[in-house]
């Protein structure tokens, strides 16, 4: 039950001035379920070129935390269930469906027959059991903690998998939809784990091509893909282009089809007859974390005061160029159980004054705001906050550390205020709420040391409540409590931005950040 620490910020984010995307985004690989209608008849073939800020690190879906890797292996490795297009629910992918026992402790999952790996062999329940067990095995170093509620997985027949739980667990199907539970051949087809992931084999629309580290990674269409007629593309090439201007120019010049991380600042200018500047609803929340282990942030009045000083509209304007919205809640609009009416603190001079006068430091103080270096958006945000707090005699020094050091400083609670962001990996709020409010969740409540008995209790209850209405009520209360206690100052919800060449069709990004490419096609 105890959740392991997840990385909070983009590890080793290289994208200079790129939008801060959380490393924890992800989800299930999609099938041919594009909801959007996109004119024209799909054209077969073509190579889709994606310009990305940094290279993937590893194809190991159970040990890898960075988005670039995840978005890549998701094209090859598919889990049993996947996220719906709105990101709030799940839908069967490799599974046909499932049944839940009355005690909510046993899930029986039926598999679609005839699904083949890219190697040509058929996928069976043994492969599924191996894959889930393998994930669970690496609970301490990888994503396996997500399977914490699973007691046992069995494969009673070729197309049936039975999952037994330790206790009732609402997010199970969402958990199984995570990429780390994607199905790989039993026993890695006889290879070692390392060898297997050098050229992974899965059931996805694309299969392994070649990888020149630091230069490009190429996937080619899987001829054995179980959904006939897909994928449309012949291949996908992920090119590493660290400079955001260069990425933009490459898409404009036709050398790349998709810019994975366009700058918000020039986002509008990306759009032209040849390129579409596209935003997709996300589950990203950007926030200020207060380290309650350091004075005076243990004081709720200080946190509330600062929250009331920050002009979120300005940040949305200066950082997102009005592409996002000010945040009001711990949960994001794209996440189930988001409460629109949560009374999150917004800019309010009177409240700020009142809270300051009630606080331990009514005359102001000096502090620092930690941000990762090389992140233009966070730098801008930090400067606005710095300027917002100044009239209240709170002198903020902006402290920049390289991404890894920044990450370490947060983990070790060696900061005072810090800018961070979160994106969901599964279509269930629990992943984030446990991380953010439960000190026992392993992350000291998003590294704030926030510890509210009420919040902890609400979160635990919600985890084990399967009934959606009851869960909703619990999460509403949790959102209200955190809005009042302000362990985090919620800043904004940002959509995902992509620069997409206009001859690319049906390119969709889910709120969890992943983009299935099976039904994407390129016109001439």
């Amino acid at each position: 039950m105890k959740r392991k620490v997840l990385s909070l910020t983009t590890v080793g984010a290289l994208a200079v001035g790129s939008v801060a995307l959380s490393a924890c985004s992800g989800g299930a690989a999609g099938g041919a379920s594009g909801a959007q209608t996109d004119g024209g008849t799909p054209v077969k073939g073509g190579n889709l070129v994606v310009a990305r800020a940094q290279d993937a690190k590893s194809m190991n879906n159970i040990l890898t935390f960075d988005n670039t890797s995840i978005f890549t292996f998701e094209q090859m490795l598919q889990p049993l269930f996947t996220v719906t297009a709105d990101g709030k629910g799940t839908t069967p992918l490799l599974a046909k469906g499932y049944t839940i026992s009355a005690d909510k402790m046993t899930y029986t999952i039926n598999l679609k027959p005839g699904i083949k790996f890219s190697s040509g062999t058929e996928m069976t329940s043994a492969d599924v059991k191996f894959s889930i067990d393998q994930d669970t095995k690496y609970a301490s170093t990888g994503w396996g903690y997500i399977n914490g509620a699973i007691k046992q997985v069995s494969a009673p027949s070729k197309y049936v998998v039975v999952v037994k739980l330790k206790h009732p667990w609402a997010p199970l199907i969402a958990d199984l939809a995570l990429f780390s539970n994607a199905v790989v051949p039993n026993n890695y087809g006889g290879k070692t784990m390392d060898a297997f992931y050098q050229a992974p084999v899965g059931t996805g629309p694309f299969k392994w091509g070649e990888w020149k580290r630091g230069q490009y990674l190429k996937l080619v269409a899987n001829p054995n893909y179980w959904q006939t007629g897909y994928p449309h593309l012949q291949s996908v090439t992920f090119n590493v282009v660290p400079d955001s201007n260069t990425r933009k120019l490459q898409v404009q010049g036709g050398q790349a089809d998709i810019d994975e991380y366009p700058d918000w600042s020039t986002f509008q200018s990306v759009g032209s007859s040849a390129v579409n500047a596209k935003t997709f609803p996300s589950t990203e929340l950007d926030y200020v974390a207060f380290n309650e282990a350091k004075k005076p942030f243990q004081d709720v009045h200080v946190r509330r005061a600062i929250s009331a000083m920050i002009d979120r509209q300005s940040i949305v304007k200066a950082v997102l160029f009005n592409h996002g919205t000010a945040a009001n809640s711990l949960l994001m609009p794209g996440v189930p159980f988001y409460q629109k009416s949560t009374p999150g603190i917004t800019k309010d001079a009177a409240l700020a004054k009142k809270e300051m006068s009630l606080s331990s430091v009514p005359n102001g103080f000096s502090t620092s705001l930690l941000i990762p270096s090389g992140d233009a958006s966070k730098l801008t945000t930090a400067q606005i906050i710095q300027s917002d707090l100044k009239p209240y005699n709170i002198n903020v020094t902006i402290k920049q550390l390289d991404p890894t050091a920044n990450h370490n400083a947060q983990q070790n609670m060696q900061y005072e205020m810090g800018l961070s962001a979160w994106t969901m990996d599964i279509p269930d709020p629990d992943e984030w709420t446990s991380f953010a409010v439960d000190p026992a969740g392993g992350a000291k409540s998003a590294y704030t040391n926030y510890s509210s008995a009420t919040a902890i209790k609400l979160n635990r209850e919600a985890e084990q409540t399967v009934d959606p209405t009851k869960r909703a009520a619990l999460y509403n209360q949790l959102q209200n409590v955190t809005a009042h206690d302000a362990p985090l100052a919620f800043l904004y919800y940002a959509p995902f931005a992509y620069g997409v060449s206009s001859n690319v069709h049906k390119f969709q990004v889910t709120p969890l950040g992943n983009y299935p490419l099976a039904d994407v096609w390129k016109s001439k």
Binding site: T141, R213, G214, N245, L249, Q250, T404, N408
Partner: protein, 319 residues
């Protein structure tokens, strides 16, 4: 001719202590970083027990000199360690990228010469004149422009505007490499040319005012025959050492340029590795770059010797 190259083994021998010094600096570079490298490597998965285990595995519990000796002996076996980010041998990673950066640097040296030689000759032909002032001042503008800025501007004009060149990347074949690397090499060349033009100009002036050019004139030489036969070769000699020295600067420039132009060379590997705290990669790149610069130093001396018959580095008697 070959007799004068007898100094080469000795010169290489001289480079050995420098190479050792380089390893010390490279070693210290990583070990001076505050905090435990193991902690940085483990990142999200750092627990005290794991940190301790990894520290032991990495030999971090040994004394610094011991660690250095380990580092050296690994180095001697061609073992530069595993990249934390890519989970592969650093050596193979680096070797993959060496030719890229090497091509880029050589390319920019060629472009630099193509830019500098005619311009400096043109300026030196009328010292103090308008063209001289123009050639002396205009390149200074290049000194004050950040490389990444120049790079993006070149991309904007020649790649996006005229579509003559691709927007970054490296290409597959050699001819593609030359096409892809033209703008980045040009950016580098622009940033170094001011220095080269100035020194070439002054060495050409020195040569033009020298007695032996007067002698050549007194033999009726003039125009191209004077320039090619007497001026260029003598003016190039000091330029060789200036180019040699500036190769280090060019290599430094690749850090930024490779970033801008999405070139998979040593520079982008280094920046990426530094930001990811991938220490073995940082060490390996720094080591390769430094050794490269040292080798260039030796080569510069050899070329210098071949060009200038007066230099005899085997003899060092001071009278």
């Amino acid at each position: 001719m070959l007799g004068r190259l007898k100094f080469v083994p000795m010169r290489i021998l001289q480079a050995v202590p420098v190479a050792f010094g380089v390893t010390v600096v490279v070693f210290l570079l990583v070990h001076l970083i505050p905090g435990n490298p193991a902690e940085s490597i483990l990142g999200a998965q750092a627990t005290p027990a794991r940190v301790a285990a990894l520290s032991k595995q990495m030999g971090l519990d040994e004394s610094l000199p011991q660690q250095y000796l380990h580092f050296l002996s690994n180095l001697a076996h061609g073992n530069l360690g595993q990249s934390y980010t890519y989970q592969t041998s650093v050596l193979s990673l680096v070797l993959q990228r060496v030719p890229v950066t090497l091509t880029l640097v050589l390319y920019s040296v060629v472009l630099m010469l193509i830019i500098s030689v005619p311009l400096s000759a043109w300026a030196a032909s009328r010292p103090g004149g308008a063209r001289d002032h123009a050639v002396r001042v205009v390149p200074l503008v290049g000194l004050g422009m950040p490389q990444f800025w120049v790079g993006v501007m070149l991309l904007l004009v020649f790649a996006v505007g005229f579509k003559w060149f691709p927007v970054g990347g490296y290409g597959q074949t050699f001819s593609q490499h030359l096409w892809y690397l033209f703008l980045p090499a040009l950016t580098l060349a622009i940033s170094v040319s001011p220095v080269i033009i100035r020194s070439l100009r002054s060495s050409m002036l020195n040569v033009l005012e020298s007695d032996y050019v007067a002698t050549a004139r007194s033999k009726g030489a003039g125009g191209w025959s004077l320039f090619s036969g007497h001026v260029l070769r003598n003016a190039v000699i000091p330029a060789v050492s200036i180019v040699g020295v500036n190769v280090g600067y060019l290599v430094g420039g690749t850090l930024v340029i490779e970033q801008v132009f999405a070139i998979p060379g040593l520079g982008s590997l280094l920046i990426g590795s530094i930001q990811a705290r991938d220490f073995p990669s940082v060490q390996a790149v720094a080591l390769f770059v430094a050794v490269f610069v040292v080798v260039v130093g030796v080569l510069t001396d050899i070329v210098y010797t071949l060009l200038d018959p007066r230099v005899d580095l085997t003899r060092r008697i001071e009278v």
